[in-house]
């Protein structure tokens, strides 16, 4: 049995081996950070990281390796993702300076930057010659998740994007295909590329298999539903606001259509899907109970059984579907770049330079490639070089297809809405999703949500928010190019 400590040792060994086989490090962002950081040897830097699997990266791999290379200790403060924003703001507002480096969800960045909680990174980036390497991050993350008011506040460090996973054996089953053709007079699309086809395929599989396998399941728990709504609403042509008046338009036909179709989809999904979050949906898919689903990239790795034999992964159900899973963009062709993480430096830190050097090293081409391949961590490919890395493509038989789906998703992905006080708007969406499951009428829910959004906008200041929205809406991933 491989223990958590062994995993750390394996990670370090793999990292060192990777490093030794890369003499080019001598001139890259990683080695520049290591050399410069040696002056801070003996110091400790504290970094906020999402609790759980995410934190195994700095705990087992990058933290010990950084200590070995520079003599700097890394203290990891694990915080549940729902509390990260609060903790970061509390630390800043109190002036405690308890955190040096931060993991920041990109949609929070304007709020944190405007509040003054994040350090501007441009001077460090230039001082340590990291700009060229930074520019090799995949464009969608680099251009959209790095800056506020044209200043760098975070190094994009996680290629979070929704991917559609489908069972090739189920959708390719001749009996299913025949039944589909008989019913709809067309070949079963494999994979479905729009929601109409997706819903038809899902309903047919549930019907033909008499519930032995459900056609599809989704994240429906309200926290995840927020992301799912944002994606699908825009794929249906919806806009969040009227750009001229800043009046909320989430109660448009597109919004009502999404909510109405969700209710219909639940009828062919497993019972109780309304409560499903990351783990419930994962378990059902890996155990072969559902034929299609949409989720973040780790599902694809674990479905292929990559790294799931390690003890730290014992909570992940054993995959019964390895080799049977296809990867595609979500219906509509514009998946949500849901959440994701950037690495930032706290403005309240007393070790800003050391903290910056650590995050530059983490984010560098060489180190990040090792980190996105860690089977137990949740960082997903986010650099062009990650998507084309032959080593990654050889990790399991279909890994090349997987990387292509991630890259396609990144190229066509949609950014999370990011405004001043984003969480207030998102909270309204989360509550709207839970009201939907409580049986309220879609149109009434969205009318109320739009009114709440308007009230929030009024309180913040229409003109102020309008300018921020215009800036966000001008980004390449804000709305699909129709």
């Amino acid at each position: 049995m491989v223990t958590r400590r062994d995993v750390g040792k394996i990670g370090i060994a793999a990292g060192l081996a990777g490093g030794l086989s890369r003499p080019a490090w001598a001139a890259d962002g990683a080695s520049a950070a290591v050399e410069a950081a040696k002056q801070f040897s003996g110091q400790t830097i504290t970094i906020v990281w999402e609790a759980g699997l995410q934190a195994l990266d700095p705990l087992n791999f990058s933290g010990p390796k950084w200590k070995e290379l520079t003599g700097i200790d890394v203290k990891v403060v694990e915080v549940p993702v729902a509390e990260m924003f609060t903790k970061i703001m509390q630390d800043f507002k109190s002036g405690a300076g308890a955190y040096d480096a931060l993991n920041v969800i990109p949609s929070w960045m304007p709020d944190l930057a405007n509040a003054g909680a994040l350090e501007v990174l441009d001077p460090f980036v230039d001082k340590y010659g990291y700009r060229d390497e930074l520019m090799k991050i995949a464009p969608t993350y680099r251009d959209n998740q790095m800056k506020v008011n044209d200043k760098i506040y975070g190094l994009p460090d996680d290629g979070d994007v929704f991917v559609m996973y489908f069972r090739k054996d189920v959708l390719g089953d001749p009996a299913i295909q025949k039944a589909y053709k008989d019913k709809y007079g067309a070949d079963l699309p494999m994979p479905p590329t729009n929601w109409k086809d997706f819903d038809q395929v899902a309903a047919l599989i549930t019907e033909v298999s008499a519930g032995k396998i459900y056609g599809a399941a989704f994240f429906r728990e309200s926290g995840y539903g927020n992301f799912m709504f944002q994606e699908r609403f825009r794929n249906e042509g919806g806009k969040f606001f009227d750009a001229d008046t800043m009046k909320a338009t989430i109660n448009s036909d597109a919004g009502v259509k999404v909510f109405t179709e969700w209710l219909a989809e639940n009828k062919v999904a497993p019972p109780g899907v309304e409560q499903w979050g990351f783990v419930e949906n994962l378990a059902a898919f890996l155990q072969g109970q559902t034929a299609m689903t949409i989720s973040w990239p780790p599902y694809g790795r674990w479905a292929a059984s990559y790294g799931t034999d390690q003890e730290v992964m014992s909570w992940v159900p054993k995959s019964t579907i390895a080799g049977k899973v296809g990867y595609a963009m979500t219906p509509g062709g514009h998946p949500e770049l849901a959440a994701g993480f950037c690495l930032s430096v706290s403005s309240a830190s007393k070790n800003k330079e050391a903290a910056y050097l650590f995050i530059q090293w983490l984010n560098s081409e060489a180190t990040s490639l090792e980190r996105v391949k860690l089977p137990y961590a949740l960082r997903d490919p986010f650099r062009d070089s990650h998507f084309t890395d032959p080593g990654y493509a050889a990790l399991w038989p279909d890994a090349k297809d997987y990387l292509k789906a991630l890259q396609d998703g990144a190229n066509n992905g949609l950014l999370d809405l990011s405004l001043l006080q984003t969480d207030k708007y998102e909270e309204v969406l989360r509550q709207s999703v839970s009201k939907l499951w409580a049986g309220e009428d879609p149109k009434s829910i969205l009318d109320a949500a739009a009114a709440e959004w308007d009230a929030i906008t009024e309180k913040i200041g229409v003109d102020k928010q309008k300018a921020v929205y215009a800036d966000w809406a001008s980004k390449s991933g804000a709305y699909p190019k129709m």
Binding site: M89, S222, P271, Q421, W437, G439, E440
Partner: protein
Amino acid sequence: MRAYHEQTMPATAVHPDRNFKYWLLAPAIFLLLLIGLFPLIYSLVVSFMRIDMMDTDTSFAWFYNYKNLFKDGRLWWSLAHTLLITAIALPLELLLGLAMAYLFLEKMPGRQIFISLLVLPTIISPIVAGATWRLLFDNKYGPINQILSWFAGERVNALWTINPTLVYPAIIFCEIWQWTPFMFLILLAALSNVDKSQTEAAEIDGARFLRTFRYIVLPAIWPVMAIAILIRGLDLFRIFDIIWALTQGGPGTKTETISIYAYTQGFKQFETSYTAAIAFLVVFILTVICTWAIRRMGLAK
């Protein structure tokens, strides 16, 4: 010897300063004021400012935040939810606690072990209890639906934390499970001290149980019972953990209590001044209720 001592000692030692005892108490009182009173005063001051996530406007804003309280429908709904939970859970906890206390009043084999086991829920952190109940109520993996399915003879898909008709029973059930033992323990202690000769005399005279309870037992246990009601009432008014773990105030805001709303405003949306105003609204309401209750229950006597 004494004369020498009196000559060499300072006058204050011979005639100790009558205020010296206050100087001894001062550090402890100062510490208590610092911990207890300072945050209260500071919060009061903050409630008259306009500090939020984006702005640290410390100028005097008069009653801006207090006026907004009256326009905030969500706040009053959260207060209504809090009162609803209190109004249902408190009597149920009292009645069940009293019934259990009566049951365990008589000597029986294993009494001490049963009492210890019954009290266990109260020593569990409410957030842990809430998280555990969330798992128990889970539609897919939770045993509650499983057990209901056995009785129903078909799969039961009750969405306890989402369905508006089930969510309050679920919350109240958890609350009662955790805190009835508290009532039980206090009332058991009170009942144990009731003069047995009086109840036995009533029994010999043919008094029925309810009559004995009404005229002999209740007056004897009332001071303790009233304190227990007051403590649990205040606790229920501040209920947060169990609901946060079970529903986070959902579906929508249907189970949002005043504490959850204040937490959301203060620590998720950083409406610092407004949250301070909410806190003082709660302090005001609780002060009125407590004063009324203490007078009504005769506790001041």
